[in-house]
Amino acid sequence: MKTMMKGLLIVLAVAALPLGASAQQLFDFNGQAMMPSTAGGVLTMYSVMYDPAPIDSPIPLDFASYEFTLVVDGVTLVSDGISRVFSGGTVTIYQDAGTAADYTNPATFTDGTAILVGNFTSLSQFVPPFGPGSVSGYLDWVGGARLNDMAPEDQLHWAFLSGTSTTSGTLLPGYDEVWDGKTEPPSTIVDTEAASMGSIKALFR
């Protein structure tokens, strides 16, 4: 009976945690990619992130004061075809209040503070003969100035999803594909709040 009561208390305490208005969370980006032409080549993608409101960012980002860029680098093409398979590579999110991102100068995407650094655990691209393509993969966040804003279990197995287009009117010279996508945690990340057992018990008195 005592164990059951303890369990009930924990369930009630968790249920009482404040949640945002939106249950979905993601980092949204829109960018330009340079694609490898043969197996063994490396994919690089530079993008600018948007405030996904009314969907929440997984960790709060101050879009009013900073520019956030998301950069994919070091991803190696393993096999080509309708389904392209990649290996390795990193995703880095930068926060910068200085230089505005400029696709003619990729260095403007990698300045500022690296707030999250992730490693791809898988990545593939579906490229039908007609129509746009799409990318699907997973990554683990392993570094960055704000890595610890997430609990360790929330840092793993994020989905990385994007549309890709070689025919978009927004494709810029020097790039091969427009990427429009997001990365999102496997489940909603909630704020944690330190509390003594006594204060939790007091909630139910």
């Binding site: 405030d51 990318v135 549309g163």
Partner: protein, 221 residues
Amino acid sequence: MKHSLGPQILLGALLVLLAALPVYAQVYTVDYLGYGWEKAAGPLKAAGDELIITSVADGIDPAFGVDLTTEEVTLHIYGLISDGPVDAGGYTIINFTGGYMDIYEDPAMNADWGINPPNATSPGTFTEGSLFFRGAFTSFTMYFDASGAYGSFEGNLDGISGSIINEYCTNCVYTWGGAFTLDAGAQIPEGYWIQVDGTFEIDSAVDTETASWGSVKALFK
């Protein structure tokens, strides 16, 4: 002696003419995120099913003068009727017939997908405000990867009405495309079928001008 235009001179003249055409192509974009569902009983994607999507813009071309911090831009796609899945040899495509896309500007900033659509807020909170654009689909196709878990889509529209019609270009080409996810790690509210992420593009076509062959030749006299 009467001179005629030989093939080489003609080709040269045409090349010069093409090079002289003014290129005014300008692309305006609306970037969006959202979720879709099917309005039909039975197997998903079956022929006759209607696809409905509600989404919110999180990026918009500054040329439109919309401030997304004070008003939201919502998209409502409806009336797309599935022709049924077709095996394209390792992947699946579905063509759709009909369908409309409405885009609204709304200072209420209350878009809410909720769960199990249609519901009290979706599509209702996505169809409020002033009409920014209404278009009728002339084509729409979904491309599913071999696993069926994710893919891409693309459609073309004829512009019908809305505040931006004829304001930013003539002979506009309207394209709506992006990626969708069913079960590849995306967070999808209960009762929705897919998450979508993409761009609505408005391309101003290069203007053309009808001219007689005589008037074209006269340019090179």
